[in-house]
């Protein structure tokens, strides 16, 4: 085994040097290390962090590929204006190479920049701090391109990724120590630093911004635009998409979040492999449905009139909230991040439920930025340790009660 032996020799050579973490990071991608157990259990289960992260990435791949087709598809219908509602999921109008190429050209650079910049930051920190490179960014790097608008400039993405990895994660000590979900930290940074690039009716369609600039420059072209479902609803506009369009994901939105169908498949995969927490996903959905029902009831009772700016979103049938916007993607892939979620099983129910509940609340009451799931998850990230604290205190109290019963 030439390669194996050569790499082993190199590893020995780099051992103890500054470059060891960087070398090992690459080495361990090729070969599972030859480390053996010392003290403690002599055998170990097959799973490690790389395998765990890899499963999440695989669950995301269908969303990424769909996102590429959808970017091209949205571009074409915006340019040609030939959208027909009610396509089948396998329609050739959507799944064609032309769509794919338009999307891939736009989205692959997002993926490359996300991974390239993020991993570079991780490598630098690992070398400075002398620890091994941890796998957390493998998932973050995949999530980031899926939750940004397709037209986001690459330099902006780079700045956001650096911010997210450094402030969101490394300052706390790296993977496993962070309080906020790094991918959402990156998105929140984009949202607050460059709000015009992550909301409105331009950024969701490939080429719309460039076309606008061309028009300003004097070219004779028609402007193109595409608004997200939530944006349209928040402004009380008519929605041209059917339920099935929304469920399949033939709608404008962030790159990977539009297809509820594929997100459900990803969720089933995560739950089946026991990597994702079904408790958080289920309770998140329940929370969203509960809030949706409350709003529907308010709208039905006439407490809020049709003239209210909240009316349209409030009156949206409660279960529609699950398939529009980034809710499904957030609950399945972001809320379930084990580091920033509640760590106790009981806590996960509360944490998930509140994410669902607050997502819809923010969605309805924040018409300027109707996507609530990002803020809801970040907020609950902050509260997750508090939830856990009270859950664990329940266990502690049980123990004290037992002691007291004994003493009396």
């Amino acid at each position: 085994m030439g390669l194996k032996q050569n790499l082993h020799n190199l590893k020995e050579k780099y051992k103890g040097t500054k470059m060891a973490p960087a070398f090992n990071a690459i080495h361990t991608f090729l070969y599972l290390p030859n480390e053996t157990t010392h003290g403690g259990t002599h055998i170990k289960a097959a799973d490690d962090l790389k395998r765990t992260m890899n499963i999440v990435i695989m669950a995301l791949v269908p969303c990424l590929i769909f996102g590429m087709f959808n970017a091209g598809f949205q571009h074409n219908i915006a340019v040609n204006g030939n959208f027909t509602s009610g396509m089948s999921f396998f329609s050739g109008q959507f799944w064609n190479l032309e769509n794919f190429f338009i999307g891939a050209v736009k989205i692959l650079p997002l993926v490359l920049v996300s991974y390239g910049v993020g991993l570079l930051v991780e490598f630098i920190f690992a070398v400075i701090k002398g620890h091994e490179i941890e796998e957390g960014y493998l998932v973050t790097g995949m999530l980031v391109p899926l939750i940004v608008p397709v037209d986001i400039p690459l330099w902006m993405l780079s700045v956001a990724v650096i911010f997210g990895v450094v402030i969101g994660k490394e300052v706390f000590g790296g993977t496993g120590m962070n309080i906020l979900n790094p991918a959402l930290t990156i998105r929140a940074f984009l949202f607050f630093a460059y709000p015009t690039w992550i909301s409105g009716d331009k950024v969701w369609v490939e080429g719309a911004v460039a076309r606008d600039q061309a028009i300003v420059a004097g070219e004779k072209l028609d402007a193109i635009s595409g608004e997200t479902m939530l944006g349209a609803l928040a402004q009380g506009k008519e929605v041209v998409y059917s339920i099935w369009d929304m469920f399949y994901g033939f709608i404008p939105g962030s790159v990977g979040e539009t297809s509820t169908l594929l997100i459900i498949l990803g969720a089933l995969f995560l739950v089946f492999t026991k990597i994702g927490s079904w408790r958080i996903m289920l309770s998140g959905v329940l929370g969203a449905l509960a809030m949706g029902l409350i709003f529907n009831a308010i709208a039905d009772a006439g407490i809020i009139g049709e003239s209210s700016k909240f009316y349209a979103l409030m009156n949206t049938p409660f279960w529609h909230h699950l398939i529009i916007g980034g809710f499904a993607f957030g609950v399945v892939f972001m809320a379930t991040d084990p580091v920033t979620a509640s760590q106790t099983n009981k806590g996960k129910w509360i944490y998930g439920f509140l994410i669902g509940f607050l997502s819809i609340l923010i969605r309805v009451f924040n018409p300027a930025y109707p996507e609530g799931v990002m803020l809801a998850i970040l907020l609950m990230n902050v509260f997750a340790p508090t939830i856990d604290h009270y859950v664990v205190q329940g266990n502690v109290k049980k123990r004290l009660k037992r002691l007291k019963a004994k003493l009396t």
Partner: protein
């Protein structure tokens, strides 16, 4: 009558190399090695002089903290060496055993007619006291404290563990005598647990103890699991624990006056050509026990089971409390794309392209590879699936790591032993050393809180 204990959380790791039910008698002879580190938390004061002759049962060293706790020689012979390490710490006492054994005579006793104090004094003076361990802290019991109950687990649920129904066959009289003696030591009950479907257990029909049936996966055989179900430990309480094979030694001492530590030991694991049972004394050199029985050169030998045993070399010795020697392949090799390819030959509790869930009956040949690198805690919820106690395992581990004594106490550290965290350590995606963390946490508590 008795109460059955049923658990669902846990994991039976099925391995190749279960011991066949035949026993070979290994003749005494050779060098025996007694390591004070087998007795956790004991600082030894050595009495043994190099060159002196000892009989089986005569004291080699005693505990610095309580001079009544004596540690006897398991065999008769000549003390050939006392090996010391840094700061003159005693590492090993080596004894060249006689071919035929001489036993010190402690006199026959009748447990039923002895008082509590007599039993205690007898166990202390005969060197049987180290067999009595205590919770909290999982150390040799402090004879000054009164236990609220005493637990004996008559069922080993660890991977490939010795089948006690076979290993202790025919020892009913010794067991009964020892149980009677233990009953004197506590005002509470003596709890004995055996597998629910065991009909051959030597504990069946034992008097003076409450007999419980066990149903469920490992760690059902761990005493902590049984204690938690029957008589959970509160702050300030003490429970004593005696292993089943040590019970036989105590019984024989009472019946015959001899300290005879000979026990049936299971040779298990895929690297043994013929996994079987042998009889041996604790301290026996591993090479004499496994001679001619190993398959390959690339093995790891463990005194104890694969989850909480101790790694030993061929020159090493059978641990004082162990009744199992395991040999598994050493996993010191690289595996191409081992982190992402589908895995059929390893055990996992997830389904992350690991397929052990499809073959629950399959027996595996696991090696010592860590299957990944050490990381910070990331994944949550996986420990709880294999941890049957009403304790938050990750929170307790973290409390031990940041040395918060109040939190350790509040989260239930009095109720556990390091072995209870063996399964969580096995499944840990971050490859954290759980048992070591818990051991250090318990040591700190013992030092600070007593």
């Amino acid at each position: 009558m008795s109460k059955d204990i049923r658990i669902k959380k846990g994991l039976d790791i099925k391995l190749i190399g279960e011991a066949e039910q035949t026993t070979t008698d290994i003749s005494v002879g050779g060098v025996y090695v007694i390591k004070p580190e087998n007795f956790h938390g004991i600082i030894p004061k050595v009495l043994a002089k190099v060159g002196a002759e000892v009989k089986a049962g005569e004291t080699l060293f005693y505990s610095k903290s309580d001079a009544r706790i004596l540690f006897p020689s398991p065999v008769s012979g000549k003390i050939v060496e006392v090996i010391r390490g840094e700061r003159r710490k005693v590492l090993e006492i080596r004894i060249a055993a006689d071919a035929s054994q001489q036993f010190a005579d402690f006199g026959k006793k009748e447990a039923s007619k002895m008082s509590s104090e007599e039993v205690k004094t007898h166990l202390l003076s005969s060197g049987c006291w180290p067999f009595v361990k205590q919770r909290p802290y999982d150390v040799v019991a402090n004879p000054n404290q009164a236990p609220k109950s005493i637990f004996v687990s008559g069922y080993n649920s660890a991977p490939l563990a010795a089948d006690l129904d076979y290993a202790l066959k025919g020892k009913e009289a010794e067991i009964q005598e020892a149980i009677t003696a233990l009953g004197k030591l506590t005002d509470g009950k003596v709890h004995v647990s055996i597998s629910k479907d065991s009909t051959l257990s030597p504990f069946n029909g034992v008097k003076g103890a409450e007999l419980h049936g066990l149903v469920g996966p490992h760690p059902i055989g761990n005493v902590s699991t049984q204690i938690a179900n029957l008589d959970p430990i509160n702050k300030g309480e003490v429970i004593w624990v005696v292993t089943a094979q040590d019970l036989v030694v105590i019984g024989e001492l009472l019946l015959t006056g001899k300290f005879n530590a000979k026990r049936t030991v299971a040779l298990t694991g895929s690297q043994f050509a013929k996994p079987k049972y042998i009889t041996a004394y604790p301290g026996a050199t591993i090479s004499t026990l496994v001679k001619g029985n190993l398959n390959t050169d690339n093995f790891r030998i463990i005194s104890g089971n694969v989850l909480s045993g101790t790694q030993v070399s061929l020159e090493g010795a059978l641990g004082y409390y162990d009744n199992q020697i395991t040999a598994i392949p050493e996993g010191d090799d690289y595996e191409l794309f081992g982190w992402n390819k589908p895995v059929f030959d390893k055990v996992s509790t997830t389904r992350a392209f690991t397929f052990s869930w499809m073959t629950p009956k399959k027996k595996y040949d696991l090696n010592t590879n860590t299957n990944g690198e050490h990381r910070a805690f990331v994944v949550t919820g996986s420990y709880e699936q294999v941890f049957p106690l009403d304790i938050y395992p990750m929170q307790l581990l973290k409390a031990c790591m940041y040395k918060d004594l109040d939190e350790m106490e509040a989260l239930g550290a009095y109720e556990i032993a390091p072995e209870d965290f063996a399964l969580t350590e096995f499944v840990c995606v971050s490859k954290q050393p759980h048992q070591k963390i818990i051991r250090e946490g318990l040591d700190l508590m013992r030092e600070e809180l007593g």
